[in-house]
Symmetry: C2
Subunit: 233 residues, 2 copies
Amino acid sequence: MRIFYSNDISGNIGRLDDEESRHVVKVLRMGIGDQIQVVDGAGNYYTAEITNPSHKGCEFRIIEKQEEVKKGFRLSIAIAPTKNMDRLEWFVEKATEIGVDAIVPIECKNSERKVLKTERLVKKAVSAMKQSQKASLPIINELTEIAEVLKAQFNGEKYIAHCYDMPKDNLKDIYKVGGNVLILIGPEGDFTPEEVEEAAKNGFKPVNLSSNRLRTETAGIVACCAINLINGC
Amino acid sequence: MRIFYSNDISGNIGRLDDEESRHVVKVLRMGIGDQIQVVDGAGNYYTAEITNPSHKGCEFRIIEKQEEVKKGFRLSIAIAPTKNMDRLEWFVEKATEIGVDAIVPIECKNSERKVLKTERLVKKAVSAMKQSQKASLPIINELTEIAEVLKAQFNGEKYIAHCYDMPKDNLKDIYKVGGNVLILIGPEGDFTPEEVEEAAKNGFKPVNLSSNRLRTETAGIVACCAINLINGC
């Protein structure tokens, strides 16, 4: 079953964007009265009926709405963008499939990428959400200075995954089922000692994700897997 | 520290292949007496000294050998190759980083790819092994008929991850720390009911990897993460 995404739903009417509309109208050749399945990225599935099959903005009327089953926790990953955009896009795709609620690209001292266009990341997330038949889209923030992320309010556990040789807990031993969690993943050159110190001052606990040496994007995925696995998701 | 790979070591002398030799001799401009770090893919790290800096086959003499810390379990993943080779290559790269001992590409009834060149997969694994500073290379089998994999002897637990609605255990609840394990991951169109039945007859237990609907390569990675996480690796 093909699912369409719309972030333009109000009451019981909605509209698909250009790309989705073209697919419905030009490729699938659907018309007035035909039914489509729509998700809104905010946790809702809809069965809808096409009311205006325009390939520039296909309009629909909602027949039925169903909420996605809610998880008991929120997982946020703050991650330094990789130099190679493919690797970051891959992370976004896989994290969306496996389960993540927010992705915060962070600018660190050792970041190899200081400029980031998030549109392609959002596209990857939309595509992964539809492909895995979910109705929730992770929030993808703009590139944010690490100092800002360290100081931001967060209602839950805060961890930093760095590679320095100092006392650290294993993520799986320290994280408790059902807890909201924010995990910081550094760039290939790691966080600086100052960033690690600043994180500690702001309540971030150092964690080990694995006994293996992982690339940034792999570390992000291992963190997603661990939190979802522990929560039985 | 750059690590080189050689599968041509005998006693205390060895030789790098064309590509590695070119890198040592032409790019790094190393010569007689210079030291290099080598892994053999079989769990050994070597400190070696260059004896013949040929860019076609750089020869070295081993000064010191160190064994990789052994894990207590072996993880084998039998996986249906994806239509898009990038996705399978990505799986091999990430599985090698996270930890896998053998990858068996399987030909199933619903496989989208019935021909597979494994050279590129081995290259990805070598590159990921070096990048993550490991000394063990996963064994990558040639494409094998699922019937053959189902009937093969395996000293450990055997699981099949399918999407049919029937009683299944969660991988994390059924797998016991330290056990050798073989996990079967099906193609996008899933295993056929006959394949699932045949697997059951051969002692494969059905498992759930996740409550999410995952792509083939993502399922493979989630399985790797779960087994490594449970083993504290």
